[in-house]
Amino acid sequence: MHENRKWAILALISLTSLIFLVKLLSIQVLNDEYKRKADGVSIKTIPIYPHRGVILDRNSKELVVNIPVFDLIVIPAQVRIPDTLALCELLNLEKSEFVEEMGKAMKYSMEKPSTLLKQISRSEFHRIQDRLIDYPGFYPSSRTIRHYPENVMAHALGYIGEISEGAKEQDTSKYYALGDYVGISGIEATYERELRGVKGVRYVWRDNMGREKGKFKEGRYDTASIAGTNLIATVDLEIQKYAEELMQHKKGAIVAIEPATGEVLAMVSAPTYNPNLLTGRSFSQNFGNLLLNENKPLFNRAIRAKYPPGSTFKTVQSLIAQQEGVINRHTVFACNKALVKCHFHPTCDLQHSIQHSCNPYYYRVFRRIVHQNKITMNDSIAQVASDGDLNQGYQTWLDYMDAFNLGRKTGIDLANEIDGYIPEIELYNDRYGEDNWNFSNIYSLGIGQGEVGVLPLQLANLAAIIANRGYYYTPHLIKKIGEQDKRPEFKIKHAVPVDEKHFDLITQGMYDAYKMGTVAYYAIIPGLDLCGKTGTAQNPHGEDHSVFIAFAPRENPKIAIAVTVENAGFGGSWAAPIAALLVDKYLNGEISKPSLDEMVRKKSFVLEPNPVITLNQASNTP
């Protein structure tokens, strides 16, 4: 009996040990889930953020740079304060503020670092840093933020911010972590990949409190970061700055392009804002203010606002008509104000129709285009008897619009560009029924009114096409990406299907329009070799928009420009002077008509005083 019991006890011990060994074999050798879990909890991955690429203008002047900002970090568990008052004095804080901030830090974590003071100025920081040695637990920390030395070009440059949950989900490369900064708009967004560089990574051990405990495997798996690529913009900082100054107290947009290359020399959307407002710690507050501002300063009008092009459209109409052979240089139409309103001017041939911007002339030109010149009862208000197929003619015209890149995205290197709008045949079919609409429904398109909506960028591109006499390069803002040339799509020459010879008359007409046509007398800068076309875009919501497209000089044009000023009336009155001043400044490097400059600067078309514009004046150097 005793013997049996001895064996029973022996069996119990053996069985227990056996169970342990089986269980241990299972969790230690057969199952590597625990190994993975162990690495997951005890190895901390610390990203090393690379230097974000800076952006320079075409003359290598700084548009966006990175500047260091200094924070004061505290690890509450390590804090020893010999003299609280002295510390408060050093930090320039009230004692109550200090206690409150420390309280927050302690509540967050005793062991993990919290930021006590954010964005301390450099001089302040140096003063504090030297004396921090007396206060264990307080550490200096520096990081960089974006800085815009000239406070210009907010819209085109865009801004960076913490990546949103949605954007992070969409990023298939899984590059971003929560809290990473990413280009949200403008060039910052388009060239995000180039600018951001490549994050490095550091692996460290972390203990149960999340504290760092030395390098993982002596840093064998760490990778260095790769700095972001610097970009050279096509923009000329001087012109950009001047354009923004001229657009003060106004709403609208300016786009200036170098016709020979498609490089954007200036891009302004007014009102603008100081880009430094959207950096650093006040981002959310400032962003909120800008978003709520009634003048919509965050809205990039240059690539997102559809304006009727008004009479600037006559340039492209005359080109199409010539190419289609429905008019020639000798075609004369009476200025029949019964067809469409016009102002007083002599009867025009083609060249003068541009100079004087004759509305009835282009009523008939457009009618001939869409009816393929098969109009039997000429020049009458009465019903047009035509053998032409309206659908076919209108489609031809639409094809030209497309070729001139009107009503579709140009493909500029900016996110969020919109198409603009040229009405398709379907619109009229839907509205009036198929074959149930005729020229009287669409005639206003001929003079750039009606449903048509064109972006300031597209208008500038149109000016560039005329300047180039028939071709363009897709407008773009970045000339060089590091050592590499611009994106290949910007080196493709796009020709429009209009023969070069047809541009002569238009150019002459535009030349005359500036010198002795529709442009206001005060906008004429003596000696300025500029070809331009005014436009007055009817605005159902208020005063007409003032539009002007131009290029200069007449031979070998160096600049093509489109200016839109909202609610400023005639194109010749405000848009033209702004364009003239900018062209003059660009070509001659100086303001040769200071009186005009002063007049434009002072003029305001924004009824409400604009706080954003006020902010823009203030220097904002963190």
Binding site: I9, S14, F20, L24, I27, K35, W205
Partner: protein
């Protein structure tokens, strides 16, 4: 074993002594590894660190060993009841004046160190039990012998429970092994005990409201079926079956009710084993078990190497140098280290059984079985709790865990046996 002039070595079981030192030194190595951090090399002689203190405990243990081995073995037999009485007094004393650590009022303060009388109560109880059962008036089949033997174990156990140290009290069930061996506990009680323990776990594993479907209804059905299948349906049989079934159901109910009345942390310690999803991660009990398993599991076959453990190093595992020392072993030496540890313990336990069985003297045999039982239960519960087979109970791994009381207690326990065993050829002279 070398025989010196004091004749300490004669008759001493060399293998047991070797296993003792192997375990103690391996334990120290792991305590040192726990203290050592990548950013902190504590050196060997700074008394504020546990590995240095453990050197002190090991050194004093050597002194204790010397005293035990040079003492007159007969005094143990003589003084057994006096030692037992003294320990009972100490247990009563700490309940009134002891220091409270982690909810248990079981420590006596001795300057910077603390002593736990409960650690020594095991040894004293073993001696008293051996003394009583080896006495001529103790007979295994007498009820009063069973009762007195039970009371000798139950009394200190109850005091320790009252101190709030349920873990150490649980160890006193280890005397069941010796009592079973001496036929104080019959076979059926042991079997019933294991069955009830299994039923206990099953009861807890099944949600309370489902118990009646999964346990109560089957029990009633089986009881009824058993009665119906009997050809001779005597009243006694029916009554007996009903009583057994009823008691089972009562037991199930009692388990549920007792469980409901446990301390929340005790309840959680049990439930985390039974139900992976019982409570979200971060709750202390789940956390401990989770990280303990991760630490051991991440060791792999050969481990991460001496002082290279990460889970244990960075404080993910609680009580690493004491109750969870096995985590460090598992992580740094992998399955090899686990195998070695379990192998050493199993070998030691086999050896203790062999020592017990070779005694001619009943006193020594009972004492040996008590020692084997205590070490076995410590070993079994400690390893089981670290690898998630048993609720977390705060008891150390013998010889390996950090701690003076624990090491001293086990040293005394073991070396008294070695001393007694060394005189196995001499007849114990009884008063």
């Amino acid at each position: 074993m070398r025989r010196n002039t004091l004749n300490i070595g004669s008759g001493i079981d060399g293998l047991t002594v070797f296993l003792y030192f192997a375990l103690v030194l391996f334990g120290w190595l792991n305590i040192y590894s726990v203290v050592y951090k990548p950013d902190l090399d504590p050196g060997l002689f700074n008394l504020s660190y546990r590995h240095t203190k453990q050197i002190l405990w090991i050194a004093t243990s050597l002194v204790i060993i010397f005293f035990v081995l040079t003492s007159d073995y007969r005094t143990l037999d003589t003084l057994a009841y006096i030692i037992y009485g003294f320990i009972i007094l100490l247990l009563l004393y700490v309940m009134i004046a002891g220091r409270e650590i982690k909810g248990a009022r079981s420590w006596i303060e001795l300057g910077p160190f603390g002593l736990q009388p409960a650690e020594f109560a095991k040894c004293a109880t073993a001696l008293a039990l051996a003394k009583y059962l080896s006495s001529p008036w103790a007979r295994a089949d007498y009820w009063n012998t069973k009762l007195i033997a039970g009371a000798l174990v139950a009394f200190p156990m109850a005091l320790i429970v009252l101190q709030g140290d349920a873990g150490t009290a649980l160890i006193f069930t280890a005397f069941g092994l010796a009592l079973y061996r001496e036929r104080i506990i019959p076979n059926w009680v042991m079997i019933l005990g294991f069955l009830l323990a299994a039923l206990f776990i099953i009861t807890l594993a099944i949600p309370f409201n489902l118990i009646r479907y999964y346990l109560v209804i089957p029990i009633i059905s089986i009881a009824l079926l058993y009665i119906l299948l009997q050809k001779r349906r005597s009243v006694w049989l029916i009554l007996g079956t009903c009583i057994v079934a009823g008691m089972l159901i009562l037991y199930i109910g009692a388990v549920s009710i007792i469980f409901e009345h446990l301390e929340p942390h005790q309840k959680n310690r049990i439930m985390v084993l039974l139900d992976e999803d019982i409570d979200p991660r971060g709750r202390e009990e789940r956390y401990n078990l989770h990280h303990s398993q991760i630490a051991i599991g991440s060791g792999g076959l050969l481990g991460k190497g001496f002082r290279q453990g990460t889970q244990t190093k960075f404080n993910y595992v609680p009580e690493q140098s004491t109750d969870f020392i096995f985590c460090t072993i598992g992580e740094e030496y992998g399955f090899l280290g686990s195998f070695l540890t379990i192998g050493l313990f199993t070998l030691l336990l086999y050896r203790l059984l062999l020592i017990a069985e070779r005694q001619r003297d009943k006193f020594v045999r009972i004492y040996a079985y008590s020692v084997a039982g205590i070490i076995f239960l410590h070993f079994a519960i400690n390893i089981a709790m670290t690898i998630g087979l048993f609720p977390v109970v705060g008891i150390p791994l013998p010889f390996l865990s950090y701690g003076g009381s624990s090491l001293w207690g086990f040293t005394i326990l073991l070396f008294i046996l070695i001393k007694l065993d060394s005189h196995r050829d001499q007849q114990m002279i009884r008063q």
